[in-house]
Amino acid sequence: QLLTHTDASFRAWGVRAAGNFHEVEPALVSKIAELAQDPAADVKLQVAIAARKVKGLEPLPLLVKVLAQAGDDPIIPQVVWQNLHPLLETNSDGFLAIVKQYDLKQTPNLTKILPRATERILAAKKKESSK
């Protein structure tokens, strides 16, 4: 009920509560993923925070989606980055595949973090290449 409430504060509350539970019903997981496109910045922010906490959510695409939709919000890109960068260390290929799905000319927030993302990928702990 909270996740579908007309008041954005309640929706944000709902996402945060789900994040605290870590494990929620599959239907709620899908609903949280949909809220990445919520018009309210507060809700998107809570989705970015919950992305790596709720079992069943795919954090990489979700975080990129929230970032791409963040508009002028000054906090969302920072929270997304905090949650995104550990994933780049081990799943840079997945990140690339997701970025390819976006038109970077239309998603300046995503474009802006790419220098940091490339830096983070290069800084990742490496194992010897088999090639």
């Binding site: 922010l45 790596r52 079992k55 929270v79 390819k100 000319k105 300046p108 194992k127 290449s129």
Partner: protein, 434 residues
């Protein structure tokens, strides 16, 4: 509404704090992770991201390409990674290199520098032209010249030589960029060139030349020989330079230093209080000329300190710091190692190829160590190249400043430093004695 906003803000703060403290589960949490990444895969991913960025946004692409160029110059990417990058980027960056009759691509400068660093022959000629093009920004020219010098390009060395020695053809900005670009070169030709051009260098560039020469054992020896021949004054080296030379792994160099300077103190000299007392007494008897003192400040102190908006910010901006009264000023200038703020504790880095750097740590990570060295330059050393990293007991601010100045110059410097505003300001007043 405001209560709700306050509630949200406080939760945001908590979440941000948790994020910054690294409390999100990294491994074994709710995300699947597959262990350490494969180096070649990573490079290919970065290259593919770069290709996307190049098509999307020029400014971001410029940042990324420069960042990559810096990593290659700092030896943070191995040969295999460089080859993989080269293979991946060639098709995209090749057409961005300048061609006769064609309009210059907005990313041409970055493409040229990267091409040189990736050992693409097509980049060499445009790079030489870019390095000597006075209309291009100094930062761009320095980067490309350094890249060429790193590959051992003889024509680049000739260009750097001309910039340093042909005062009628090249200005001070060109000399500054040439000196910076030469810093990373391992060529044996660098030290003789810098020593030869030392006397012609502008005042603020001379300490940078000494910084360069004291980074490697061979160039340090050449410098000591030049001092022995009287070509460079012994006072050009401050106590920290000498301490840096003593940190070298080269026993012959250390012996030369001891022969010239005797035993070199590696910690604060307790006798500094006597120097402070002497200078205080002189200041009570005589007054210097603040305008002359300002020039001395620009020559010596502005390498690391900013005052009234001018100078480098390696150490604190002293417009409003450390000059509350004459007593504090005397102590900070003449006994800098008495109290050193934690963030101003100098580090000495010895690299695997024998280079010795002293500076303040800007970054100390598993990938690299970055130091801000006197003169304001950021030196980045790949972690794998760091042989030794230790904290210096001495402040980066050298002891013995009075030995680098004549008695009159010292009075002039203090006449400038004891004014609360620039000497050109008619409202400038003396700071209180205590």
């Amino acid at each position: 509404m405001s209560r709700r906003l306050g509630w949200i803000t406080s939760w945001i703060n908590i979440f941000l704090l948790v994020g910054f403290l690294g409390l999100w589960p990294d491994r074994g949490g709710w995300c699947q992770e597959s262990g350490d990444a494969d180096a070649t895969t990573q490079i290919n991913t970065v290259a593919d991201l770069l290709l996307l960025i190049i098509d999307a946004d020029e400014a971001t692409a410029r940042d990324c390409l420069n960042q990559l160029a810096d990593k290659i110059q700092n030896n943070e990417l191995d040969e295999r990674s460089r080859r993989a990058l080269s293979d991946r980027l060639r098709e995209k960056l090749g057409p961005r290199l300048p061609r006769p009759g064609a309009a210059r691509d907005p990313l041409a400068n970055e493409a040229i520098t990267l091409a040189v660093l990736l050992r693409e022959p097509a980049g060499v000629e445009p790079a030489r032209a870019l390095a000597s093009d006075g209309k291009q920004p100094a930062e761009v020219r320095q980067r490309v010249l350094a890249a060429l010098l790193l590959t051992g390009d003889k024509k680049a060395h000739e260009l750097a030589e001309a910039m340093l020695t042909q005062g009628d053809r090249y200005d001070g900005a060109a000399r500054a960029l040439a000196l910076q670009a030469l810093t990373r070169s391992t060529s044996p030709l660098v030290a003789p060139l810098v020593i030869r051009s030392y006397a012609r260098l502008e005042g603020p560039l001379q300490p940078k030349a000494i910084e360069l020469l004291t980074q490697r054992p061979a160039s340090s020896k050449a410098l000591l020989e030049a001092i022995g021949r009287g070509e460079i004054a012994a006072s050009a080296l401050n106590a920290n330079h000498v301490a840096k030379l003593m940190a070298s792994r080269d026993p012959d160099l250390r012996q030369l230093v001891v022969a010239k300077w005797g035993t070199v103190r590696q910690e604060r000299n307790p006798q500094r209080q006597q120097v402070i007392d002497d200078v205080r007494q002189r200041l009570e008897r005589e007054t210097g000329e603040p305008v002359a003192g300002q020039k001395i400040f620009q020559r010596l102190c502005a390498q690391c300190h900013k005052i009234h908006g001018e100078g480098q910010e390696v150490g604190p901006d002293i417009t409003a710091n450390g000059r509350a009264n004459v007593e504090q000023l005397l102590s900070n200038v003449l006994d800098p190692s008495l109290v050193i703020g934690a963030s101003y504790q100098a580090r000495i880095v010895v690299t695997s190829d024998g280079r010795v750097l002293t500076g303040l740590v800007v970054e100390d990570s598993p990938q690299r160590v970055s130091l801000k060295v006197p003169g304001g330059k950021l030196e980045t050393i790949a972690r794998a190249d760091v042989e030794e990293l230790r904290v210096s007991e001495l402040s980066l601010m050298p002891e013995g400043l009075e030995k680098q100045l004549t008695a009159t110059e010292l009075l002039d410097l203090f006449a400038f430093l004891t004014l609360d505003k620039p000497p050109s300001d008619p409202t400038a007043r003396r700071i209180p004695p205590r």
